[in-house]
Amino acid sequence: MFAGSLEWVEERLGLRPVASRVLDHDVPQHITWWHCFGGLTFFTFIIQIATGIILAFFYIPSPDHAHDSVAFLQDEIPFGSIVRNLHRWGAYVMVVLVVLHMLRVFVQGAYRKPREMNWVVGVIALLMVFGFGFTGYLLPWDQKAYWATNVGINIAGSVPFVGEFMASFLRGGPELGALTLSRFFSLHVFILPLFLIVLLSMHFAMIRKQGIAEPL
């Protein structure tokens, strides 16, 4: 029934060359399994986006409702605990994979000229991944989330000169509370994804342009 649909679209839009330009490209012979970690990190990022959107259907970033809404999703909604735990474990796995990816690039010296800029973009993206972890950890608003964030913000506060202001900025004031939760939510759901998507686009465009580094 739909057998001719692809051809029908192809005849009108001619997308096949575009798809083949994006997906079809030669990789050098020296590639190893260690080269998979960047792509795997991107794969977990997509899982995080998909599960995060589902979580946003239920989550309320308010001190009164955050914990109850998470518990409701976890206990009352079919598949709720699977979706939430995919997001949670996906976050851990993403950090592990991105660190392995970075180690491979470091040990192989793949950051050398002409790929220094891609290394810098990658390191900023790594910090964004840590930012995701830090902000996301607070959102369930339980004891562990609250005190872990307290510790994290105190670490930021120990930076000389600007630390005091940074801690205050993260908290949204002198106390860790309603404003902290809403700004962590905003960072986690709007700011960080936007920036990470832009950075990853640059990361991928550069690797495509420059090719995979030759082995040592």
Binding site: P28, Q29, H30, I31, T32, W34, I47, A50, T51, I53, I54, F57, F58, H65, D68, S69, A71, F72, L73, E76, I77, P78, F79, G80, I82, V83, L86, R104, V107, Q108, P215, L216
Partner: protein
């Protein structure tokens, strides 16, 4: 050779050492007769591409199923059917009228706990008219007129319910006697258990 792999292999169509005869020329099939994939017109490349598409599709489908299941489930939730006590016929509390000896509809109210997903249950006062039908049978009328929802009142002399807004009149059994209402008065489910009269879900007549 690094721990991460090998350098690009020497091309085998070049003599490896001076004097070595070049490797035999010929098509892939004559060199590797066991690789007969071409006969079924499924190349290694196409096979891998389809496998990749299959795995990707399976992952996407599982995620979509989980997500759609989770966001569709709340649509199927039912208003938690629960019973709220109205009174104890024949054994009223201090200062309360005895429902068992009522001979006119009594304006009273019961406390219903309304549930809203993860929000704390909220008590809500529901005003009702309770009518004693005899033999431990009670009717619990919703006080809202079925026309536009104004609260009705009981007229003892005419033994009827009157609505103040548009002059609607209901009989003691809730039937429309006059005015614009399209339906008889709405009633609550009732049950009598261990001497307690309970109201359940609102039955729209």
């Amino acid at each position: 050779m690094s721990i991460f792999g090998k350098k690009p292999e020497q091309r085998t169509d070049q003599p490896l050492l001076p004097g070595t005869p070049p490797p035999s020329q010929g098509s892939e099939e004559t060199k590797f007769p066991y690789m007969r994939l071409k006969e079924s017109s499924l190349s290694r490349r196409t096979f891998l591409m389809r496998s990749l598409a299959l795995v990707t599709g399976a992952i996407a489908a599982s995620l979509a199923a989980l997500g759609l299941g989770a966001i569709t489930a709340p649509a199927l939730r039912k208003d938690a059917s629960q019973w709220s006590p109205i009174g104890r016929p024949g054994d009223p509390g201090p200062g309360e009228p005895d429902l068992a000896t009522l001979n006119t509809p009594l304006l009273t109210s019961f406390t219903k706990l309304s549930h809203d997903a993860y929000m704390a249950a909220r008590p809500e006062q529901i005003p009702v008219f309770v009518t004693n039908e005899g033999n431990d049978k009670f009717t619990v009328f919703d006080v809202r007129c079925t026309h536009l929802g104004c609260p009705i009142s009981w007229d003892d002399k005419a033994t009827q319910f009157n609505c103040p807004c548009h002059g609607a009149v209901f009989s003691a059994s809730g039937e429309v006697l006059a005015g614009p209402p399209p339906r008889p008065l709405n009633k609550y489910e009732t049950k009598l258990e261990d001497g307690v009269l309970y109201a359940g879900q609102l039955q729209v007549s």
